[in-house]
C-alpha cells in the first residue's frame, strides 16, 4: 500500500476530490496546512508572503493504484504556475479498519 500526500491549492481541492471520487477513490483525509516551497513564498510588490495556505489531501491506496491517483491529482491540481503544490508517495506497511479490526484497506 502507498500513502499519497498531496499539497494542493485550496481552491483546487473540490475538483481533485470529485475526480478521485469519480475514479473510485472516495476515501481521503484533508487538512489545511501552511507552507512554502522552492520559491521561498510569494513576493507581491513590497509584500512577501512566507507561509502560503495549502490543503493537504492524504489517502492510502493499493500499490497498483498509486500511479493512477497521482496522475489524477496532478491533472486536476495543475494550473501551470508556481505554487501548484507537491505530491509525496510513501510506503505503508499495514492498514487496519478499527470497526472490524481487520488488516485491510
Amino acid at each position: 500500500m502507498k500513502m499519497i500526500r498531496a499539497f494542493i491549492r485550496p481552491e483546487k481541492e473540490q475538483e481533485v476530490v470529485l475526480a478521485l471520487e469519480g475514479a473510485g477513490f472516495p476515501s481521503l483525509t484533508k487538512m489545511p496546512v501552511f507552507g512554502r516551497g522552492k520559491q521561498k513564498g510569494l513576493q507581491v510588490g513590497p509584500v512577501h508572503y512566507d507561509e502560503l495556505p495549502k490543503t493537504l489531501i492524504m489517502t492510502v491506496v493499493d500499490n497498483d493504484d498509486a500511479d493512477k491517483v497521482v496522475k489524477i491529482i496532478q491533472d486536476k491540481a495543475k494550473t501551470g504556475f508556481i505554487g501548484d503544490g507537491k505530491i509525496f508517495v510513501s510506503p505503508v506497511d499495514a492498514a487496519y479498519t478499527v470497526r472490524t479490526g481487520e488488516a485491510v484497506l
Binding site: Q14, E21, P26, T29, K30, Y96, T97, V98
Partner: protein, 138 residues
Amino acid sequence: MKEISAIIRRDKLPETKTMLDELGYPSLTIQSVDGRGKQKGAMCAEMDSEMPDSYCTAVKLTPTPSVYALEHTLPKVALYVPKRMLTIVVPDDVVSKIVKSIIKVNQTSQHGDGKIFVLPIEDAVRVRTGEHDGEAIA
C-alpha cells in the same frame, strides 16, 4: 521504528490517550482533520432514507465547469466527517500491541471508527540533544 497514524473519532481521543499512557508510550501528535472513507461520509445511513432528495441537492457540492464531464458517483451528499489524527512513532516490536489496543479502545462497531496506518520511519532525531534512532523516541 514505525509511525502509527490513527484516524479516530473525536470523542475517543481522551480514552486513547489514557490507554497510550498506560502502555508507556505517552508521546503523540494530534491533528484535527476532516475526511471520509468507504461509506463516502454518509454519517447517518438510516437518516438518509428519510431525508428528501431535494435537501441533498440543495447542499450538494456545486461542480465547477471542468468537472461537468465527471460522473458524480455519490447518491447522497458527500460530507466530511471531523476526526482526530494521532501520530505516534514507536519501536518495531510494540507496533502490533499498540495497534490492537487502539482498535480495542476505539471500536464501536458503527461505521466511522477510523483507520490505522503503519508506516516505516527511517530515522528520528531529538532536537534538544541530537540523539538518533531508538534513543530519540525512548
